[in-house]
């Protein structure tokens, strides 16, 4: 079994250019991750701000020895959005395809298939692998039973799965962040930028349930699969994704690295993670075949 790889998924929230730059430069210098995904996944209206610091960020990450993957939009509808993906395909960076459009434009070039392309079974896995996917990030909804099947017989195809951070539940054409602020997507004022970890939506009886992030909906809780790292590794997962949240991601990455490398127990690491992750509840239901919003106490490995 090859050494497990730790990755930092694309930043899903809309942070200012300065904050984004500072975040990635610190990741480059200090985070024990092997791979960093950069680029905008949620909304093309955010792209100018994201790209204003991207070249510098990529250069610094590469200089620090990180593999850099450029993530692309999850929902592509306009000719301009298609054109932007076409430009990226012409570049030299490895791409994460989050819509079938990107796979088509890559025309067989090696790439990563992101979690927004439905690969739920071995048949779909083999199709995308046949079109050039060297790594597949499985959707967060996948449970352990399915994951064992898809990852266990993936051969040379690398398998990635998100093990930390709010989990993506849906993408939409409509912007709910704008709607919640009495705006529309076409005149949104990029209002999603005011909430660095998204906007919490409660049920009408006061239970915090969802996180709105522009056109994307995420879980309210942070998916924390520390206690399941051993299970995932045994199942054939090769790459373990941390999704950036507004907290000390260097410390989070260090904890996960230590557990993956067998230098620290999962339980002890969970104890150290608690104060870092603040008030945000922990969830892991999807992997256990339970409602995704739930927390199932992981059994000791």
């Amino acid at each position: 079994m090859n050494a497990p790889r730790l990755t930092l998924g694309p930043l899903l929230f809309h942070w200012s250019a300065a904050r984004r730059r500072d975040f990635y430069l610190r990741i480059a210098d200090e985070a024990p991750v092997d791979t960093v995904y950069v680029g905008e996944v949620v909304c093309s209206k955010r792209e100018p701000m994201v790209e204003s610091v991207q070249d510098e960020v990529i250069a610094r990450l590469r200089a620090a020895g990180k593999e850099v993957v450029l993530s692309t939009l999850a929902l592509v509808t306009t000719p301009r959005e298609v054109e932007r993906i076409r430009e990226r395909v012409a570049g030299e960076l490895l791409l994460e395809a989050n819509d079938v459009a990107c796979i088509q434009l890559l025309a067989g070039r090696p790439h990563v298939v992101g979690p927004y392309v439905n690969v739920f079974n071995e048949g779909a896995r083999d199709v995308v692998a046949g079109k050039g996917a060297v790594r597949i990030v499985l959707p967060v909804e996948m449970n352990a039973t399915s994951l064992r099947v898809v990852a266990g017989s993936a051969g040379a195809t690398q398998i990635e799965y998100q093990v930390f951070g709010r989990q993506p539940l849906s993408v939409a054409m409509r912007c709910y962040h704008a709607r919640a602020n009495n705006l529309t997507k076409d005149h949104c004022q990029i209002i999603c930028g005011v909430d660095p970890e998204g906007l919490v939506a409660e049920t009408i009886d006061g239970v915090e349930m969802l996180t709105v992030n522009g056109t994307q909906t995420l879980t309210r809780g942070n998916g924390v699969l520390l206690g399941e790292l051993g299970l995932l590794r045994a199942a054939g997962v090769t790459h373990f994704r941390l999704s950036p949240q507004d907290l000390d991601m260097v410390a989070v990455a260090t904890l996960y690295r230590e557990v993956l490398d067998g230098r620290r127990g999962a339980e002890e690491a969970a104890g150290a993670l608690r104060p870092l992750a603040g008030e945000t509840p922990w969830i892991n239901g999807f992997l256990h075949g339970r409602p995704g919003r739930q927390w199932v106490e992981p059994s000791p490995a």
Partner: protein, 331 residues
């Protein structure tokens, strides 16, 4: 039927509904097998093999086509039911299958090459390169377009890809990119993508409290409404949520999609077929909606004006209507 204004594709949740739709003037009906292979896997609905074969016989005798939706995503290690569904649709004489999963598309292309393949809305193909991917690799002949596009965007896609398109004309508004939404499994643990049921009835409950009705899914309260107030079935995207201290329909109001007033626009855009949603609805609904659209299309085909849009108010979800993403400003 090249003189047809637009092909009318109608829901058949049961064999009886199939006959109702055919008799009411459907050009085409669509249905699914009674299992997890289709996205309307609700109790009491759908077809077994013999019912499908008989239904196809009934439809074909009346010059009506039958499409079989096999549009969920197989569970890993259990692709058999989906493959069997493709083979059975072919054996029963279906005119096409409506598919979403890459693996199922691959299977159908290799094993049933003569069976026409349509791309389900569950595949969420909303741009030209995606459509070309399915055309080139799986010979897909028709795409059911996601309900997120404006009419001019639909026209551009058709012009660029040359593909046959089917668009939603009546039913619900799908605010999320379909086939990629995990909200229902987040609340219930059951996946719409692989089990075929968003907000399964077994997990829905209604409780009266203080003169109001509380609806919930998987134990999570999604709405509270006065008796008689319009309210949608409690799918997670039709619930009320509180943001900034204010309760609202965060994702979508309880409204139904009705495109009957823009049929000439859809025709001009190059659309081939109109999809009426509602395999889970009653035969009375099917008869009314299909009949109304049949008359509208026939009138348009004769060069006459279409009937007023108000004709179907009683059948729309929540009793209110929208043209959804087809009109600018919905986003």
């Amino acid at each position: 039927m090249s003189s047809r204004y637009l092909e009318l594709v109608c829901p058949a949740g049961t064999p009886a509904a199939l006959r109702t739709a055919v008799d009411a003037g459907a050009d085409t009906v669509y249905c699914g097998f009674r299992d997890c292979t289709n996205a309307r896997n609700y109790p009491g609905l759908n077809f077994d093999f013999d019912e499908l074969r008989e239904g196809i016989g009934y439809a074909h005798a009346r010059d009506c086509k039958v499409l079989v939706a096999i549009n969920t995503f197989p569970r890993a290690g259990d692709e058999g039911p989906w493959h069997r569904a493709v083979d059975q649709a072919a054996a029963a004489g279906a005119d096409a299958v409506i598919l979403a999963d890459l693996g199922v598309l691959d299977y159908a292309t290799r094993r049933q090459p003569a069976l026409r393949r349509h791309l389900s809305v569950q595949a969420s193909a909303a741009n030209a390169p995606s459509i070309r991917f399915y055309q080139e690799h799986f010979g897909v002949r028709r795409v059911v377009l996601p309900r997120v596009l404006a009419v001019d965007e639909v026209a551009e896609l058709i012009a660029e890809t040359g593909i046959e398109t089917e668009v939603f004309a009546f039913g619900s508004v799908g605010p999320m990119s379909e086939g990629r939404c995990f909200l229902s499994s987040y609340l219930t643990g059951l996946s719409p993508t692989s089990e075929g049921a968003c907000a399964p009835a077994s997990h829905v409950s209604y409780v009266e409290s203080g003169g109001r009705v509380l609806s919930s899914l998987g134990g999570v309260t999604l709405n509270s409404f006065a008796r008689g107030e319009p309210a949608a079935y409690p799918t997670p995207c039709k619930g009320r949520y509180v943001t900034h201290g204010r309760a609202s329909y965060l994702f979508e109001e309880p409204v139904g999609l009705n495109a009957i007033s823009i049929l000439p626009d859809l025709k001009r855009a190059g659309v081939t077929a109109l999809k009426i949603e509602g395999r889970q609805r009653s035969r009375a609904y099917v008869a009314e909606v299909v009949g109304t659209f049949r008359r509208a299309l026939d009138a348009l085909g004769r060069g006459e004006a279409v009937a007023p849009a108000g004709a179907l108010h009683g059948s729309t979800e929540g009793g209110k209507e929208t043209r959804g993403a087809y009109q600018k400003g919905w986003r």
